[in-house]
């Protein structure tokens, strides 16, 4: 069973990777990968009061979502979205668990409201006025692939464009020791049922028993392994190369996902 769509917008942000064009230069070998702390832009689509309330992963998710949609000239207001993240806002989670472990157990109402896994999707909707359906998923290390599968079924079954936003950030200590995600990484894809002027490639996905792809470059391989959203990197490498080919992404322990890429000339 193969699902097909067009990738008509892309956004990437991560350690040493500031946007999709610069990430593409690294992944296609035109530039060396130089790891550096992820720089998260202030989300200008939010009002000042909300801007002050949002954590790092919300800034990350909004940044890649905006890059993918603005590149495609897609108005977000009627756009269906799928957000996928393994852990959501790790700092917010730590602050809540910390407060609950102390006498008094006074927790901030804003922190509690922000603790929902769909916080980034909520702020995206508030910031862009998007009232369309938005789903929010988690599949631990398989979160990117699970999100891609969900988004592809929605494109194919409902014949609508879908924005996929996969993002993950770090936990502070002591949770960091138990879930060592080093820094923020996010990737967003605008998937459309038809080819558009902005389409980068046609994509066909299917569940697979093949072995998943790795990187020879140790820094890129470390990034791929460290962040669930960075499990997208083998697919992004093909898109960066602008050549036909197949990437195999990690999924569940019993299956992988084969992603066939055909660039739009």
């Amino acid at each position: 069973m193969t699902l097909s769509a067009y990738i008509s917008g892309l956004g990437v942000l991560g350690p040493g990777l500031v946007n999709w064009p610069e990430t593409a230069a690294v992944l296609s070998g035109q530039a060396a990968y130089q790891p550096a702390a992820t720089v998260l832009p202030m989300p200008t689509i939010l009002a000042a009061t909300e801007r002050r309330r949002v954590g790092r992963v919300v800034k990350l998710a909004l940044a890649v979502a905006l890059e993918a949609t603005s590149q495609a000239g897609e108005g977000p207001a009627e756009l269906v979205s799928v957000f996928s993240s393994s852990g959501g806002d790790g700092h917010n989670c730590h602050e809540l668990c910390q407060a609950l472990s102390l006498a008094g157990r006074e927790i901030s109402p804003t922190r509690f409201a922000n603790s929902v896994h769909n916080a980034a999707a909520g702020y995206w909707s508030i910031g862009t006025g998007a009232m369309a359906a938005s789903n929010v998923l988690c599949a631990f290390d398989a979160s990117f692939t699970a999100g891609l599968l969900e988004a592809m079924t929605q494109v194919v079954v409902d014949e609508v464009p879908v924005l996929l936003v996969a993002y993950d950030g770090e936990y502070p200590q002591p949770l960091h020791a138990k879930r060592p995600i080093p820094d923020a990484f996010g990737a967003a894809l605008l998937l459309t049922p038809q080819r558009r002027a902005s389409s980068i490639a046609r994509v066909d996905v299917a569940l697979s028993d093949l072995r998943f792809d790795r990187f020879a470059d140790p820094a890129l391989e470390a990034l791929r392994c460290a962040s669930p959203a960075a499990r997208a990197l083998p697919m992004l490498r093909l898109l960066a190369a602008r050549s036909s080919g197949r990437a195999v992404l990690e999924y569940l322990d019993v299956s992988r996902m084969a992603v066939q890429i055909e660039p739009c000339a």
Binding site: R105, A132, S134, A139, V157, D158, K178, V254
Partner: protein, 397 residues
């Protein structure tokens, strides 16, 4: 959309483990809410606790998943021969052709809350016994159930706050429609924890009394917990007329506020309209509405405006949260099962604890049980972040 068959259902909440006990409580209008005595929680509020959760032991080979949330999942799985029904579906279709779509808001976060009390006094480290992935992570309950049931199809946790386990029906439906799977284990599991009890308290959204949805004096929610599951399959040609089908799903976003619903129920209205459209039904085709009805002043006002705007003031509706409490990420699936029971048994469950229906809420809120044939039910689930999902269930014939 093409209708789907609920080929097997089960629910466990504070009003009963399994559908027989659940139906019995609904028939008696019995509430399972009690004054909060959970763990070390010191809040003047009521809770809906499932009996016997911590006496449950997970199978030895899945020991790493031990936490209250997965124990509740296991308890739920053991009711109504649900585990056996899943195994039969796996035999019928193949293990790779059965997917798992589970809604949860907090999964096993209680395990982390407890671990934070046992941090090393010098290093601050969490105890070595704490295992993040199979307890804390939102995927843990979906991963537990897929391993427990030996399923190898697509699996995911949907975590959209209190709409989570309504939205799982949408994810499963798309996978079935796309042909990736032939059956889906869908449901919701959410369990009591300090984050939600103290969190809703901090927002002044939890009531000191048992919650009174749509009452003029309503003053907040009572937090509950539940495990509720359904097995979804395509409708066979020879379907039994008494079967319950999923006829429509509507999803929307409020684009308004993180923790307050839109005052006019803008997103809720859009979700209900989308569900009616998907089912190719008119508002007059709906016999009963199982409301989100949390019992907060703002939710019930907003929802009543959205419902009245589409259905007018005559369609009977009620919230079952006065009986079960608000089971958060499990509420959508729990109320889907209650909707199916309503159809099967011709029961519109009256809203428990509500004594004076708010005259400003222009809907036909029922407080007493009604027995009447029910062909179709609409069920609402809304969540923080302004996420909305409406489901429509109906008799096959």
């Amino acid at each position: 959309m093409r209708p789907l068959l609920l080929s097997h259902i089960t629910a466990s909440s504070c009003i009963g483990t399994g559908v027989t006990a659940t139906l019995d409580s609904l028939l008696r209008q019995r509430s399972g809410l009690k004054h909060c005595d959970f763990e070390t929680v010191d809040i003047n509020t009521h809770i809906g606790e499932v009996q016997g959760v911590d006496a449950v032991r997970l199978p030895e080979n899945l020991h790493k998943f031990e936490c209250r949330n997965n124990r509740l999942a296991e308890l739920g799985l053991r009711q109504d021969d649900f585990f056996e029904a899943v195994q039969q579906a796996a035999m019928r279709w193949g293990r790779r052709r059965v997917g798992v779509f589970l809604g949860t808001s907090t999964a096993g976060i209680l395990q982390t809350e407890l671990a934070y009390r046992e941090r090393d006094p010098v290093s601050g480290a969490l105890p070595s016994s704490f295992d993040y992935a199979p307890t804390h992570n939102s995927f843990s309950v979906a991963d537990y159930l897929r391993q427990r049931c030996h399923l190898e199809g697509p699996a995911v946790a949907v975590s959209c706050a209190c709409a989570s386990s309504a939205k799982v029906f949408g994810s499963a439906r798309r996978m079935l429609e796309a042909g990736l799977i032939d059956a889906a284990l869908v449901g919701g599991v959410d369990s009591l924890c300090l984050t939600t009890l103290y969190g809703f308290h901090s927002l002044q959204l939890s009531s000191p009394a048992p919650c009174r949805p749509f009452d003029v004096a309503r003053d907040g929610i009572s937090i509950g917990e539940a495990a509720a599951f359904a097995l979804l399959e395509r409708v066979p040609d020879n379907v039994d007329g008494d079967s319950v089908l999923l006829l429509g799903i509507g999803e929307s976003s409020d684009a308004y506020h993180m923790s307050a619903p839109h005052p006019e129920g803008r997103g809720a209205r859009r979700a209900m309209q989308a569900a009616l459209k998907a089912a190719a039904l008119e508002p007059s085709d709906i016999d009963y509405i199982n409301l989100h009805g949390t019992g907060t002043p703002s939710n019930d006002r907003s929802e009543s405006r959205a419902v009245a705007g589409i259905f007018g003031p005559t369609t009977p509706c009620s919230s079952t949260k006065g009986a079960t409490g608000h089971t958060l990420g499990a509420a959508g699936a729990l109320e889907a099962v209650i909707s199916a029971l309503a159809i099967k048994h011709g029961l519109m469950p009256g809203g428990v604890h509500t004594t004076h229906t708010d005259p400003n809420l222009m809907v036909h809120y029922i407080r007493d049980n009604r027995r009447a044939p029910i062909a179709r039910v609409l069920s609402n689930s809304f969540g923080f972040g302004g996420t909305n999902c409406s489901l429509i269930f109906g008799r096959a014939a």
